[in-house]
Symmetry: C2
Subunit: 364 residues, 2 copies
């Protein structure tokens, strides 16, 4: 519990009420974060930040010095330390497992690397049905370092929940088909529209891999998962439903024993369908106010979001006002997990993030 | 009229009915494009493509060889030829004046260049109130090459309308504040949220410049304008209304003697407010079906859009089906100008664009 006590005095962590008795099998079960995911009453609005473990933290930059991104994702000691850093420093209500979207692809043998300043680069992009053979099913034996890191983390984190992490089939497909990051996803869409059967086979494979990658994390003790479909906002809803949703739904159905968060940036048009894919919590970017998101998504879901990540560069009174607006709009939801509307920008001052945690915990 | 006759036999150009008599002061007045902008009956749905003049055309690439982008925008002979190329080749219903968003800034003396593969790069980004002095009002004397090119074009184009071109204040501000293209517009938003008075002064200046740049084109004979707010989709609607809309509205009000098209990518949340800023035609990206866009925008507007620009890489039957879907959804609008939902991608096969023109003209 030392982790929480570091900022516990400020944020009133750890006093959750009658259900947090010693006999609970999972110490994080009654955390504000998991309660909000389940749409249960919470002592305070829980908050974490996408990319909270990363370049915004000086201790992260120091630890990563001399270690390539993918190497750091495959070393349990580094994954554990990096995942814990923002929990210690910021007092957030959940840890997010430090990894990268392409880690499961690397683990099954896809020749790829993460190039600094560029992103994932795939040596031989996916082109034909023969390339399906390069995508075998992922087993726990492919990723022993994931199991080891999650186990270590769950032990360290105590009552702070750990969120498992994976990229969704569409976004993985985009990296594989484009060969790297893409602005327009033109080749990806060309495959999707032009060869719908091959597309379906590809996304089926990727759904298997993603599901297995999340199951490894859950089996090792992760108490929620976030499925990132970073780039799916490039699709109109009609095509999302036809070409993507069934595959994401299969992943989400397969991890149904813990709360499932589902997020993509620029997905204002897809919020309903991403919820309907089987999410318990729908992540919302900063463009759609949470009360409007509730109307689009419908009942039976919690929401996560959605402070504009650039607002950390604004003066304190603006930050305070915008946090307040998000909290007020979030009251329209059956459950609200405060977050940014996209990942923490590398130039972010961690003190501002800590300040936001305090504002959220203090409430409106 | 030679330009139109080249593809006129295919597309039934130029037979517009009783109003196109010889006494009409503006030969393009009764074009399908301008009629659609005015929400009048049309002989066929008009079509043009954002970035139709550009790298997708081999004749463009050849002409531009050895000439820097900004230089080409300041040479009337090149502007004229480049603007005409897609009209000749594709049979589109309108020409769009070939220029770049930063041309008016360059014209008033801002030290900037367009770096191939990067985009506009501003030597000294906008930081403080003192930088306002570097943004004097634009006069026709700053841009004699624009007047000359528009006059030449209007003469050449005959009954084919010429759309004037300018970037909107927010997007210009982003280039000035960031110093170049930006993914997150973090500095821009920091200025907007953190120094709202300076922000307002900056956008006021840029509105003056943009308005003057469009007026030069209208006075020389452009018969419509498109105000591009390329990046404004990065803002939620509330902040668009507070920080951007009044300035864009002033530009649009100032050019009210010709139809005004207003477009930004990823603006699904802003469509109503961009229409309310004073657009006659609201451009819609591919994420929002046109019938849904009509519901958001409300009555009294025409719509422009919105085929996904990556669909040019799909097989012909998919292109045909998607064009059909856009045309059907567009029937919900009081006027519909067919276009892509964003600019033509450089890798696009011009023959596919010509095929789309034919499909649109043939109708549903």
């Amino acid at each position: 519990m030392a982790l929480q006590l570091a900022r516990g005095a400020v944020t009133a962590h750890g006093t959750i009420g009658p259900m947090s008795d010693e006999s609970s099998p999972r110490p994080a079960y009654d955390s504000a974060f998991l309660r909000a995911c389940r749409r249960e009453p919470v002592p305070h609005t829980p908050v974490w930040f996408m990319r909270q473990a990363g370049r915004a933290l000086p201790e992260y930059r120091k630890l990563r010095e001399g270690t390539a991104m993918l190497d750091s994702c495959m070393r349990p000691d580094m994954v554990t330390e990096i995942t814990l850093q923002p929990v210690r420093r910021l007092g957030v209500d959940a840890a997010i497992f430090f990894s990268d979207i392409v880690v499961p692809l690397k683990a099954i043998g896809v020749d790829l690397d993460i190039v600094p300043g560029v992103g994932p680069v795939v040596a031989e992009p996916f082109r034909t049905a023969r390339d399906l053979d390069r995508l075998p099913v992922l087993t726990p034996e492919h990723v022993p370092y994931i199991t080891e890191a999650v186990r270590a983390l769950v032990g360290e984190l105590g009552a702070t929940p750990l969120i498992g992490f994976a990229g969704a089939p569409f976004t993985l497909a985009s990296y594989l088909v484009e060969g790297g990051p893409s602005r327009n996803h033109a080749r990806t869409k060309a495959l999707m529209y032009g060869e719908p059967e091959l597309w379906s086979q590809l996304l089926d494979r990727l759904a298997d891999i993603t599901l297995a990658f999340l199951r490894v994390q859950i089996d090792a003790g992760a108490s929620a998962v976030q499925l990132f479909d970073s780039w799916v906002g490039a699709l109109p809803a009609q095509d999302y439903r036809a070409f993507v949703q069934p595959h994401s739904a299969r992943v989400l159905a397969g991890v149904g024993d813990v709360p499932r968060i589902h997020f993509g940036v620029g997905t204002g048009e897809l919020l309903h369908d991403m919820g309907a894919a089987g999410a318990d919590v729908v992540g919302v970017d900063w463009r759609v106010p949470l009360d409007e998101a509730v109307r689009r998504i419908g009942p039976g879901k919690a929401l996560q979001g959605n402070l504009d990540p650039t607002l950390v560069f604004a003066p304190d009174d603006v930050v305070r006002r915008k946090v307040h607006e998000v909290l007020v709009a979030g009251k329209a939801a059956e459950g609200h997990v405060f977050n940014l509307g996209h990942g923490v920008l590398p130039e972010t001052d961690p003190d501002v993030l800590a300040r936001i945690v305090d504002l959220v915990h203090a409430g409106v």
